[in-house]
Structures are given as structure tokens and as C-alpha cells.
């Protein structure tokens, strides 16, 4: 690559977060460039979901800075209630970032297509026809066009997660965050969701995935972040971390998966 290094799309520096005095994230810093697919792995309770929620402005940071696509969320005064500005920034951040949750949480009272149309219509004030048009395109992309008028409860878990991805994409996010998107799915349905994410990667979408799918992490990620006890232990190339982890803790964690097929 020539010229100056591009400004990273996501930049996190010295991020701290605790619940009831119990630290969950300790001095987290990293940067991600546009178009990367990054997996975050680690044992349950290591803080990876909390990290993801901080990136989406869903959590109030104790201290530190998160910058995504030029929007900066920052807190220095620890302990005090965040000011109005923080909430406005958090809201601004969410319009740049799409998120897919572990729990299947499409809006159950709306059809699949209405789920996708709602936010563009009320947040971006896009008219109904246009929203419908976009929704159809996105449903086509995730392979759900023929189910557009069905209600979430009538879909499989995999279909619901694909619809959730389409719903997030409808807001034109610059970054997509996934919080264990396949954990609550039947093993047979996992692949169809991961395939959608691979497709987005090919299109150049920046994505961060908290996952337990080691095979996906290894095959699809540009690199992997390994976390333990609220700290980033290692950030490595996808093959490097599996074949030759730098840190003893990473080796131990991945050791659990030895013999499995990934």
C-alpha cells in the first residue's frame, strides 16, 4: 500500500467499564480498518459482549474513547452521571453501527418486511415505497424474499437471524456488530447465517463478531481478538493465533478445542 496509512474506521482507546465496582473491561485499546472482519473470542464472562455493547453506545463507558466513522464517544469524569451530550453521541453512533443480538429479537408483531422497513421510515423518514423497495432488495440478499410477509414466530431461528441482519443493514451502517449470532441456533442452521456474513465481508463491510464458532473465526476473519478477564490478551492473524499463539493464556483457551474440526 502506498501513501499514508488510512485512518482506522474503528478506534478504541483506554476503555474502562465496570458493573457495581466489578471491572469488566480494563484499559481496552485497538483499531480496526475498513473492510475487516474481526472475531472476538474468549471464555464466557471475559467481557466480549460488554465490549461490543460499548461500541454500540448501549453501555455508558466509565472512561476511555470509542471512535467509529468519525463519531466519538468519550468519557473522562468517572462516577458522575453522563451528560446529555453523551447520550446524543451514543444515539449518533448507533445510526452508524448495526447490531445483531444473540437473542432472537425481531419485532414479533410485524412481518419480516415491516421489521426491516420500520427504522428507515421512522428514523430516516424514508417514504414507504422506498423503504419497501430497499427491504425487498435486502430480503433477496439474505434469501428471505419469499417469506417477506410472514411473522417472525413462523420462521426458523436461522431465518430470523438473517432477517435481523437485513434489518440492521437497512439503516446503511458502516459497521456491523454481531453478538454470538449463532449461539441460540440449531447447529444445522448456523451455516446459513455465517454465509450471509461471509457474503457481506466479500462486499467490503466492516464487521466485528463475538463468537464461539472457532471454525468460522479461523476461516472468515481477517484477524482475531482473544480476551480474558476484561483484557485483550492477543490480537493476531487468524492462522497465527490457532497455529502459534503468542500468549500462554491463548494457548490454554484454544487447547479446549483441540481435536475438534476447525
Amino acid at each position: 500500500m502506498t501513501g499514508p496509512a488510512p485512518q482506522p474506521l474503528i478506534e478504541v482507546s483506554h476503555l474502562w467499564k465496570s458493573y457495581d465496582g466489578h471491572p469488566v473491561l480494563k484499559d481496552i485499546s485497538f483499531a480496526i480498518e475498513e473492510g475487516d472482519l474481526v472475531s472476538i473470542i474468549g471464555a464466557s464472562g471475559c467481557g466480549k459482549t460488554t465490549l461490543l455493547r460499548c461500541l454500540n453506545g448501549m453501555e455508558i463507558l466509565d472512561a476511555g474513547r470509542v471512535t467509529i466513522a468519525g463519531v466519538t464517544l468519550e468519557r473522562t469524569a468517572k462516577g458522575k452521571r453522563p451528560d446529555r451530550n453523551f447520550h446524543q453521541k451514543a444515539h449518533a453512533l448507533r445510526t452508524e453501527v448495526g447490531m445483531v443480538f444473540q437473542s432472537l429479537n425481531l419485532f414479533p408483531h410485524m412481518t419480516v418486511r415491516e421489521n426491516i422497513m420500520l427504522a428507515p421510515m421512522i428514523v430516516k423518514k424514508i417514504n414507504r415505497d422506498e423503504a419497501e423497495h430497499t427491504a425487498n432488495q435486502l430480503l433477496e440478499k439474505v434469501g428471505l424474499l419469499k417469506h417477506r410477509d410472514r411473522y417472525p414466530y413462523h420462521l426458523s431461528g436461522g431465518q430470523q437471524q438473517r432477517a435481523a441482519i437485513a434489518r440492521a443493514l437497512a439503516m446503511n451502517p458502516k459497521v456491523m456488530l454481531y453478538d454470538e449470532p449463532t449461539s441460540s441456533l440449531d447447529p444445522a442452521l448456523v451455516e446459513e447465517v455465517l454465509e450471509v456474513m461471509r457474503e457481506l465481508d466479500r462486499e467490503g463491510m466492516t464487521q466485528i463478531v463475538v463468537t464461539h464458532e472457532m471454525r468460522f473465526a479461523r476461516n472468515a476473519s481477517d484477524y482475531i481478538i482473544f480476551m480474558e478477564r476484561g483484557e485483550i490478551v492477543e490480537i493476531s492473524d487468524e492462522d497465527e493465533i490457532f497455529l502459534d499463539p503468542k500468549d500462554e493464556r491463548t494457548r490454554k483457551f484454544l487447547g479446549q478445542f483441540v481435536g475438534r474440526d476447525f
Binding site: M58, H91, R94, T95, L106, F107, P108, H109, A119
Partner: protein, 579 residues
């Protein structure tokens, strides 16, 4: 394809907005000119504020009676109906009209709907009032109010004079302003044929005797000592119990005893011919209108001297020795037939035939329908207010910062923790003290609406709690604000959850709306009271009213079920909702 919620939510928001707006404007309008005197003759019938159709009817109330045909008044003969009775606060005071407070329930023979089905207001006091109005050249406008609220209503300025047997006693004279007496009544002792031993008041010692509560009869019997006194709210129940054998005798005011007892002589009621006590009746005139008092006094004295008053009393069979003495008339024996009394006795003889009974019930229908309509109006408007305000309260309680949430909790607990009856009294009779005068209709709707809002708020809170919190997070992550998330994601799901309890509350409100009769509205339950006391028929009329209440509620139950089913279309399987 649009989800039913979209249509529903739009409709609800729209209706809520419109109702809130109109309440606000109305309340403001009424606050801004409380009891403003209108002296513009042209304004006499058009002053009524537009939203309340009751008022409009009241404004139409014309003159009744044959006496008003003296040519110089242009009004046509308009017939009164029960719907005419309303709060005159909406019919502003004016020198063209004379507003007088009456209670049609148990109003016989003072004031009652004519039994000929014409819907005309008749009664011996009504005839006196009409004559007074004819001479004053003012139009009589009756106002329906509970009997025990006649004096408070007068003091509130709801009307110019209070009627219907106001007793002139030293205690009363100390606080209100009476006209000269227009009638002197006594007490009437009645017994049953099976008690041949009772022939005078002295004979009731040791017997069980029925009286109205807080009446002169009660004091008299209590003084005798050895009498078993049973107190009643209406004379009808007393006569019923006398016939049923629960009482040995009753002691009531003479006019009432005549009209409730005479028709039942065939059932064994026996009148004792004895002069007991003397009570003078006078009209109570608004203390602020001393000139009106003087004019009415002059007219009454002239009517006494000219024999006009005597003629009215004789028509109604009420001429007696006490009144003759008061008027200085030596002639106690009536000169004319008591045509009205006779007609009444003839009319109200207990019905025996099934056919006749059926016909009578059919004749009740117009009144019942009017009552039912008012019940529906009050209930629906109150429910709309309750649902709208309840939603706001619940949203604040669940999603707003704590100082606001605490206010919401405070409201809910205070309203839930105090009786709705007291709240209604407070709003209608209490608020005027600080300058807020609401018409009975508005006061009823607001009172019930504010009360039920507390319950609806709790329903909604349960509904919000029933929606998983991940729904809120999903909505926020899509860039929605909290309010957008509540409005488009949370509330529609909560709505389906709260629909059954809200329907339940509406059915409950439909029945609780009978409470507004305490603030002068003649709704369905009050209609029942009016008809039942008039025809001594609590049984058949009661069943009829019960059926009407049932029919009123059913469509809403069906509608709610239907909506519930529609809103549940997205759920995997809902066998219990399919019915």
C-alpha cells in the same frame, strides 16, 4: 399489508388527542366565566356550550302547562322530557328564565312526568311554579338534582329556587331564605287491614312503624318511646313492607302517603283519619336574589287570597284543615273533585294482566334508552380519557427519570386509594370553591376518567413488563429514540397484553358510571330508580335494567375478542384466543 395496530394506534391517538383537547378547552372555558350572568335576552337559549348535547336539550326546555296561554309569550308548548333536566350552570342565569331545583325520583305529587305518556312535567308544585312564572313573565326551567342536594345546589347557584316540600322550621330559616307558606301538610298514618286495633297514632305503641329517615315522623315516634321504628329512603319500600307484613304501620308526609298509598288500598292499605302535626312548606329562594323573594311572596299571597292556590291543591286532593287555617279560609271541605289524585289512583292500580304489564315495560323503553345513551356517553368518554392518561402515566412510571416516575406513582396510589364517589363529589361540589365549575357531564367524565386512568396505568405497566427488554435494545440499536421505540415497538406489543384487563375495566366502568347520578345526571341506574319508585316495581324494572346493562357491555366484549385475535395473528398458536 398493514398490521391492525397501525390503524388502531392512529385511531386511539387521534381520539385521545381530540378528547383531551376538547376537555381542556371546555374546562378552560368554564373556568374563565364561572356563573357569568347573562342579561342579553337573545342569549337565553343559545348560551349552552356546544359539546354537551344534554345542555342543548336543556336550553330547549320551554314552558309547559295550560296557564301559559296568555298570548303575550311567544313560546310554543314544549314538552319536558327527563333529558330536559340538567345542570343550569350551562343554562346561564337570566332574567328571562326561572330555574328551579327538583328531584323527580320520589317527586310525586310535587313534580313528576305525566302518566299519560306525554312526557310533560306535572305536579301540584309544578302548577304553582308555572303560575308564578306566568306572572313574572319568566320561563320555567327545571333542574334535576338529588333531593338532599337541593339546598347545596341552590347555594352553588345552579338554580334560582329550591322546591319540593322544603319545610319551614326555625333551624332551616336560620340558614336559608323561605317564601311564605304555600301549603301546610300533616303526617299521615297508614296501617293494614289485618291491624284492626290501630286507629290512631297512640295505638302504634309497641308496633313496628316505617318512616323516612331524618324526618319529622321519625322525631315524633322517637319521642313516643315505645315504638319500633324502621327507616326508609323512599315511601314505596315502606308501603311494600307494610303489605308484605314486615311493618304494622307507616307514618309519612301526607301528600306522599296519599299518592303512594291510595292506589294500594286494594292491597289492604288503610288510611287513618287523624290530624297529626303541621309542617309548612315554602320555596327556598337564592339568598342573593332578595327582589325575587319579594315578588314571589306577593304572587303567593295573591294566589292564596284569590283561591287560585286552593284550587290547585283541591285538584290534587291535598286541601286540608291545616292549610285552611294557614290561609285563613274557614271552609275545610273541598269544593272540587280531586281529579289529579283520582286519575293517578286509576292509572297506577297494580297491573295484573301479563299483556298490560308488558305494555308498561314497553312504555319504559324511551326513558331507558335515554338513560342508557347517557351511560354509554359517560362511559366511553371516561374510558378514552382513562386509556390515554393511563398510557402516559405508565410510560412515565416505567421509562421516565425517577422524579417524574415518583409523581406518577403518587397519582396512581392516591387515586386508587380513595373512593371514586368522594372524587366525584370533590370535583363537582368541591372544586367550585377554587373557581373551577364543571358541568355535571364533564365532571362525571373527568371524575371517572381520572379515576380509571390509575387502573389503566397499572394495566399498561404490566403490559410493558410483559415485553422482553431485548425488544427495547433492538429498537435502540436501530437508531430509534426511546420514545420511538416505545411508540412503535413496545406499546403495540403491550397493547395486546393489556387488552383483556382493559376490556374488563371498561365493563366495570360501565356499571360504575351509575355513580354520576350523585352529580345530577339521569343515567340508566337513576332511570331505574325513577321508574321503580313511580310504579312500585323494583322487580320487573330491575330485570329490564340489568338486561340493558348486559346488552351495552356485550358488543365491547366481542369487539375486544376480535381485536385480540387480530393482534395475535403473529403468534405461533393461540388456541385459547381462537374462540
Amino acid at each position: 399489508m398493514r398490521h391492525p395496530w397501525h390503524v388502531l394506534s392512529r385511531a386511539i391517538m387521534l381520539i385521545a388527542l381530540v378528547t383531551t383537547w376538547s376537555f381542556a378547552t371546555l374546562a378552560l372555558a368554564e373556568v374563565s366565566d364561572p356563573g357569568k350572568d347573562s342579561t342579553d335576552p337573545a342569549a337565553k337559549t343559545t348560551e349552552a356550550t356546544p359539546t354537551d348535547n344534554e345542555m342543548a336539550v336543556a336550553a330547549d326546555a320551554g314552558t309547559t302547562g295550560e296557564e301559559s296561554s296568555d298570548g303575550e309569550t311567544e313560546e310554543e308548548e314544549t314538552e319536558y322530557t327527563d333529558a330536559d333536566f340538567t345542570d343550569v350552570q350551562t343554562v346561564q342565569a337570566s332574567s328571562d328564565i326561572l330555574r328551579y331545583g327538583v328531584d323527580l325520583e320520589g317527586g310525586l305529587p310535587y313534580f313528576l312526568d305525566s302518566w299519560d305518556g306525554s312526557g310533560k312535567l306535572i305536579g301540584f308544585e309544578q302548577e304553582i311554579i308555572e303560575e308564578i312564572c306566568r306572572r313574572l313573565n319568566r320561563k320555567p326551567v327545571p333542574v334535576q338534582i338529588n333531593w338532599d342536594k337541593l339546598i347545596p345546589g341552590l347555594e352553588r347557584g345552579l338554580y334560582d329556587m329550591a322546591c319540593e316540600g322544603q319545610e319551614i322550621t326555625p333551624e332551616h330559616e336560620a340558614v336559608v331564605q323561605f317564601t311564605v307558606p304555600y301549603y301546610v301538610t300533616g303526617l299521615q298514618l297508614c296501617t293494614h287491614e289485618r291491624h284492626a286495633e290501630i286507629n290512631s297514632l297512640a295505638d302504634v305503641e309497641g308496633k313496628r312503624v316505617g318512616v323516612l329517615k331524618a324526618s319529622l315522623s321519625y322525631d315524633l315516634l322517637a319521642e313516643m318511646g315505645n315504638v319500633d321504628i324502621a327507616t326508609y329512603d323512599t315511601e314505596v319500600n315502606g308501603f311494600d313492607d307494610l303489605i308484605n307484613g314486615r311493618l304494622d304501620a307507616v307514618l309519612f308526609d301526607q301528600p306522599v302517603a296519599l299518592y303512594y298509598g291510595k292506589p294500594r288500598e286494594s292491597e289492604g292499605i288503610r288510611f287513618i283519619d287523624e290530624e297529626i302535626g303541621a309542617v309548612k312548606y315554602g320555596f327556598v329562594i337564592d339568598a342573593r336574589q332578595t327582589d325575587l323573594l319579594e315578588k314571589v311572596n306577593t304572587i303567593l299571597l295573591d294566589m292564596r287570597a284569590s283561591g287560585q292556590l286552593r284550587a290547585i291543591l283541591e285538584r290534587w286532593g291535598l286541601w286540608n284543615a291545616q292549610t285552611a287555617r294557614e290561609f285563613g279560609d274557614p271552609d275545610v271541605t273541598p269544593r272540587a273533585e280531586p281529579v289529579m289524585l283520582n286519575a293517578w289512583v286509576e292509572h297506577s292500580r297494580p297491573i295484573t294482566g301479563l299483556r298490560a304489564r308488558f305494555d308498561r315495560y314497553v312504555s319504559f323503553l324511551p326513558m331507558m334508552v335515554r338513560g342508557a345513551l347517557l351511560t354509554m356517553e359517560v362511559s366511553i368518554l371516561a374510558m378514552l380519557l382513562a386509556v390515554a392518561l393511563g398510557f402516559v402515566l405508565a410510560t412515565i412510571r416505567v421509562y421516565a427519570p425517577w422524579p417524574l416516575a415518583m409523581l406518577s406513582v403518587l397519582y396512581i396510589e392516591i387515586i386508587r386509594g380513595t373512593p371514586v364517589l368522594i372524587q366525584l363529589y370533590f370535583i363537582f361540589y368541591g372544586l367550585p370553591a377554587i373557581g373551577i365549575k364543571l358541568s355535571p357531564f364533564i365532571a362525571g367524565v373527568v371524575g371517572l376518567g381520572l379515576n380509571y386512568a390509575a387502573y389503566e396505568a397499572e394495566n399498561y405497566r404490566a403490559g410493558f413488563a410483559g415485553v422482553p427488554h431485548t425488544q427495547m435494545e433492538a429498537a435502540l440499536s436501530l437508531g430509534m429514540t426511546r420514545w420511538q421505540a416505545i411508540r412503535h415497538v413496545i406499546a403495540p406489543q403491550a397493547f395486546r397484553i393489556v387488552l383483556p384487563p382493559v376490556t374488563n375495566d371498561f365493563i366495570s366502568l360501565l356499571k360504575d358510571s351509575s355513580l354520576v347520578s350523585v352529580i345530577t345526571l339521569v343515567e340508566l341506574t337513576k332511570t331505574y330508580g325513577l321508574l321503580a319508585t313511580k310504579y312500585y316495581d323494583y322487580f320487573g324494572t330491575g330485570i329490564m335494567v340489568a338486561v340493558i346493562y348486559l346488552l351495552l357491555g356485550l358488543p365491547f366484549v366481542r369487539l375486544a375478542r376480535y381485536t385480540e385475535r387480530k393482534l395475535a395473528a403473529h403468534l405461533p398458536s393461540t388456541p385459547n384466543l381462537r374462540r
